[in-house]
């Protein structure tokens, strides 16, 4: 039996609140945690099948043109080499998230530097890598290729659907008491998952099994099947454990398709793991952005107008474009608005979803601009934001489903000791170090994605949750176990969760912070159906049934659950899909960031000394994994603020810093103790769990808090991220001279 829900309305009951097992929201350890920390959790490249060969992708060394030839004979003659695969179905780049069909194919047509053009397969990884390294490649390079967003020959698209305006912003700016008109830039970013992309393909007749590192399995199955031109039913994808995704594993990637083709061609299992350099070059990056922001405010600091116009990039033909302004329409008040979105078509590694596409970079720029407005108006940055919280979505004239920004701002200010801050830059100094405090708002749109899950309450009184949902390090195993344990009144030790296999009911997948709430709702619905069937057996009303510690309690009866089962399992499926609720209310998550940063007055080096995030995301399903997600987001926020940048050579577009030595993620020494406060909230419009996504909220504006603290420390305003020491130093030199 399937319990289905289309979310058209607000939830009228808080069912989880009525449950008594007491596990939902608890800081449950990950059930798989011990396996992971002891190296026993099998990731894609672990436990390779007997006779498995290894493939390594070969890169293009031009940005645009055609592959004219490969010196295959020379490589095939090397020891251990099995084949050089040049199939036309090989893909140029990963599929975009939820594409459900093959990404761009045809390796002979080159659209970016680093694009895969072939796969070398050998007995060992080392042999394959050597073959891929030396494989002679002849290219016909095109001239006059647009490589940089500001190249004069870069075609600029201005999609009509992505422009909007209301009122008269120009007039509002002219008449404003305080106005800001600045341009901010953010560089490209790499997702930087710890586990590189890897797939192991094996065929049984016409049936393909792919052990891969992917986030959204049933979409990936459709994409892989489409790329191979075979029936979806013939493809099974298994991703039991995934070593991080951050958007980079949303869509099927070149190594997965290549492994499948090579395995079929050679009749043996083939494993293809990307090298770290491959990951940097062949996996979708976050686009660099240029953001023109205009703010108009009255004498009280109330916004009368907001303009946010973005320029992003992608290769020709890719539909995705970084949704920079996603939170701008609803975050702050202001009746005059302009949203602009332009896409430069250039030949760099294609762009896609990376760590909170949109808000991560868009809100960062907006929140730096707000800080500039606070300086211009003389208002405290927290107070300025409090004055500009709208009471309904100012762009769509619909109510908010729930709204916690004010509480997050005030709680954060209080917990952080914000009132000790001196608004005047350079007020605090410890030796060579200038100390500053900065803050920013957090916001992220909330999404629900269609999901199914199957729950079996076995005759022995244990439960099994099954879905093709993934756990990409986020805590899915823990959270789904908790939902089922709470709803069925079982200790978590009696609930098992199986994930990451397309043989199981299709879930939302992991992405866009929607996994836990979407798939959690599917589990919840399945459990509701089980409860209904238990009521039938017990001949009671659903409201009369209490399930706790493996017992059913009805009236004055307390019966062990296995007795209720009567020797039969109950199997139920939950199925949730988004409905009209999305259009009736504006759903988002909110928060605030506070950072204390020390800037070295001699060198311009910036070091974050402490950081606080206050977040609300509806019901928190697991206090520990939610907190961990927020810490991770803020850590990436520090990276975005201070160090992370994909550097391209302007002459040929190639990525210069394609390893973790030179692509500077924050290391432990860069990350101080990060404090996270999760606010109590329920959002009845989100889903029956009243939970919203939290995975990405921790990065949506976090970098701005750091950059704003640098300003407070030094008086140097950084508008071009990251705030590397050369940029800070140049400001310090100006300050020193003035």
């Amino acid at each position: 039996m399937t319990r289905h829900l289309k979310v058209d309305e607000r939830a009228h009951r808080d069912r989880l609140e009525e449950m008594v097992q007491g596990v939902i929201g608890e800081p449950l350890d990950r059930p798989e945690g011990q396996l992971k920390v002891s190296g026993r959790a099998p990731y894609a490249m672990d436990d390779l099948p007997e006779g498995c060969c290894h493939g390594v992708l070969v890169r293009s060394t031009i940005a645009k043109g055609a592959l004219a030839g490969l010196d295959i004979d020379q490589v095939v003659a090397l020891p251990g080499i099995r084949a050089v695969v040049t199939d036309k179905r090989l893909t140029k780049n990963p599929a975009q998230g939820m594409a459900g069909k093959a990404p761009a194919q045809g390796p002979e047509d080159i659209i970016y530097f680093g694009q895969p053009v072939a796969l070398v397969v050998a007995d060992t990884f080392e042999q394959a890598r050597h073959g891929a390294q030396i494989l002679g490649r002849r290219f016909e390079a095109e001239s006059d290729v647009a490589l940089n967003p500001d190249d004069p020959n870069a075609e600029i698209e201005t999609p009509k659907k992505k422009q909007s305006s209301m009122g008269d912003l120009d007039k509002a700016i002219r008449e404003a008491h305080f106005a800001i008109d600045e341009t901010y830039t953010t560089p490209g970013h790499a997702s930087a998952a710890m586990e590189p992309h890897a797939s192991v393909a094996s065929w049984d007749g016409d049936k393909l099994t792919l052990h891969g590192s992917y986030q959204m399995l049933h979409f990936n199955r459709a994409e892989l099947a489409d790329a191979l031109n075979i029936d979806e039913e013939k493809v099974r994808i298994v991703a039991t454990y995934v070593g991080g995704g951050f958007g980079s594993k949303l869509g099927i990637a070149p190594e997965g398709v290549a492994a499948a083709i090579a395995s079929k061609q050679l009749g043996v299992p083939v494993a293809v793991a990307m090298t770290r350099q491959n990951v940097f070059e062949m996996v979708l990056r976050r686009s660099e952005t240029e953001q023109h922001i205009r703010l108009a405010a009255d004498e009280e600091g109330r916004l009368t107008g907001i303009g946010h116009e973005a320029l992003v990039s992608n290769v020709p033909g890719e539909k995705f474009s970084e949704p920079v302004t996603q939170a701008t329409p609803f975050l702050y008040r202001g009746e005059n608005r302009v949203i602009g979105h332009r896409i430069a078509r250039i030949h760099r590694t294609p762009a896609g979803s990376v760590r909170a596409p949109g808000e991560a970079v868009g809100l960062t720029a907006l929140e730096i601009a707000l800080d500039e407005l606070a300086v211009a108006s003389g208002l405290d940055p927290v107070e300025l934001r409090l004055r500009n919280i709208p009471d309904k979505d100012p762009s769509q004239d619909i109510p908010f489903s729930s709204h916690t920004l004010a509480e997050a701002l005030m709680t954060g200010a209080d917990r952080f000791g914000w009132k000790t801050r001196e608004p005047k830059p350079r007020s605090m100094r410890e030796g060579e170090w200038l100390i500053g405090l900065g803050m920013a708002s957090a916001a992220r749109v909330n999404m629900l994605i269609e999901s199914k899950a199957r729950v079996t309450l076995a005759r022995n009184g244990s439960a099994l949750v099954e879905t093709d949902m993934t756990d990409i390090g986020t805590g899915t195993y823990a959270v789904l176990t908790q939902v089922a344990a709470e709803m069925l009144g079982l200790p978590v030790s009696r609930v098992q969760t199986r994930l990451g296999d397309t043989d199981l009911p299709p879930a939302s997948g992991s992405g866009g912070s929607f996994g836990a709430s979407s798939n959690g709702t599917a589990v919840f619905l399945a459990c509701e159906e089980i409860r209904r069937q238990l009521c039938e057996r017990l001949e009671c009303d659903p409201d009369e049934l209490t399930l706790k510690d493996g017992h059913a309690v009805v009236g004055n009866r307390r019966i062990p659950i296995d007795e209720v089962m009567g020797g039969k399992d109950i199997v139920a499926e939950g199925h949730v899909e988004p409905g009209d609720a999305e259009d009736k209310v504006r759903q988002a998550t909110y928060g605030s960031y506070f950072a204390e940063v020390a800037v070295n007055a001699v060198t311009g080096e910036s070091r974050v000394r402490r950081m606080l995030g206050v977040f609300a995301a509806g019901r928190i399903l697991n206090a520990k994994t939610a907190r961990s997600q927020c810490i991770g987001g803020m850590t990436f926020g520090i990276g975005m603020a201070l160090t992370e940048e994909l550097i391209h050579d302007r002459r040929d577009g190639h990525i210069v810093n394609r390893d973790f030595a030179e692509y500077h993620l924050p290391v432990n020494a860069d990350v101080p103790q990060i404090e996270v406060v999760l606010l109590e909230e329920r959002d009845p419009w989100a889903n029956p769990l009243q939970a919203k996504g939290i995975g990405e909220l921790g990065i949506c504006g976090a970098a701005a808090a750091v950059v704003n603290a640098i300003y407070n420390a030094t008086g140097v305003r950084i508008r071009h991220l990251p705030a590397t020491l050369d940029k800070v130093l140049s400001g310090l030199e100006d300050e020193d001279q003035s």
């Binding site: 890169r59 060394t61 020891p79 080392e126 890598r129 050597h130 390294q133 030396i134 350099q277 060579e432 001699v602 060198t603 311009g604 080096e605 070091r607 201070l642 160090t643 550097i647 050579d649 302007r650 002459r651 190639h654 210069v656 810093n657 394609r658 390893d659 030595a661 030179e662 500077h664 924050p666 290391v667 432990n668 020494a669 860069d670 590397t724 020491l725 050369d726 130093l729 140049s730 030199e733």
Partner: protein, 327 residues
């Protein structure tokens, strides 16, 4: 990685003979293995020298210190004599790499690590150091990491070592044994070569030479400092670093030696700057004059012009720290 033959030397002499015949030494392998995986380096023979009896840190008769080539960076940084008499060296070592890498990396190997130039690391790019005659990819490209002193039109790469910068300020010598069993010492100042038109030849070592030790003279000054400026707090190469050793008497600088990292193809020293400071009373004006003199001949590119003000400011701060002068 290209296939290679691996052997383990039983004695320094055997290693040196294999080296003379074209084998490449491997000790900690922290840099070489990465470069082999990327095929930036493709030795066909490796000779493992990590088990040779080249460890130990001992006092010399001249009051200095002899550091075996196989002493790992962690042990050297933790050595009591080093910490007490050569703190600039301990600090430089701890400013480099990560704990795991320092446990493997050796004193001799550290001196010979290769540049971190992006174009050296990418075999699709031209690089005169990796492939003589192919050109320099960095010139006209991304030059954030690159040198402002001692470069040539053929190469603008920097030497990445922190340890070597401190050793240069300490006037260290490198003890070398050759295949004939002869031992000689080379001052670190003569150990490295500027790129000129042969950037692939980085040192004055001959084929078959094996570094057996590094020798420090008696400590030249109690005042020592190492300051490394980098893009993140750990695990990043120096954009600029300054090693300073100084002796002060009667309110004047009696002697100083200064070495600079991240700015040149090898640890950089400038005798004229040291001369300018000698015998003077420490003052901010003096430091500023020295800093101006240091960068007078800097040659910059778009991406590394910031190193000029950064180096000046860092040197000034280090001099202030050493002398206790107020900035």
């Amino acid at each position: 990685m290209t296939p290679f033959h691996f052997s383990r030397a039983a004695s320094p002499g055997e290693a040196a003979r294999l080296g003379r015949d074209g084998a490449t030494y491997i000790a900690g392998g922290t840099n070489l293995l990465d470069l082999m995986k990327l095929e930036v380096m493709t030795p066909d023979r490796l000779v493992d020298i990590s088990r040779l009896d080249l460890g130990g840190i001992e006092a010399t008769r001249k009051g200095g210190l002899r550091i075996g080539a196989m002493v790992c960076n962690s042990d050297l940084a933790a050595d009591r004599t080093v910490r007490e008499d050569y703190p600039v060296l301990a600090r430089a070592l701890l400013a480099g790499a990560s704990g795991q890498l320092r446990n493997k990396a050796t004193t001799g190997g550290n001196l010979l690590q290769r540049t971190r130039c992006y174009y050296f690391y990418d075999t699709a790019m031209p690089c005169n150091k990796r492939e003589p005659g192919s050109g320099c990819g960095a010139i006209g490209g991304v030059t954030r990491l690159h040198a402002i002193f001692g470069t040539s039109p053929h190469c603008i790469a920097t030497h990445p070592s922190d340890m070597a910068v401190a050793l240069r300020a300490l006037d260290a010598e490198v003890e070398v044994e050759n295949a004939d069993g002869k031992t000689r010492t080379v001052p670190l100042g003569d150990f490295y070569r500027l790129p000129g038109d042969t950037p692939h030849i980085e040192t004055t070592l001959e084929r078959g030479d094996l570094i057996t030790a590094v020798i420090l003279p008696a400590s030249a000054g109690a005042l020592q400092a190492y300051r490394k400026v980098r893009d993140r707090a750990s695990y990043a190469f120096a954009l600029v670093s300054v090693a300073g050793v100084m002796r002060i008497g009667k309110g004047r600088i009696e002697a100083t030696s200064l070495a600079f990292g991240g700015v040149a193809p090898h640890p950089w020293r400038d005798a004229s700057v040291e001369q300018m400071l000698k015998g003077q009373e420490p003052s901010h004006e003096l430091f500023a004059k020295a800093a101006d003199a240091l960068v007078a001949n800097a040659v910059t590119h778009d991406g590394n012009a910031f190193k000029v003000p950064l180096l000046k400011r860092t040197l000034t701060a280090v001099l202030a720290e050493l002398t206790g002068a107020k900035q």
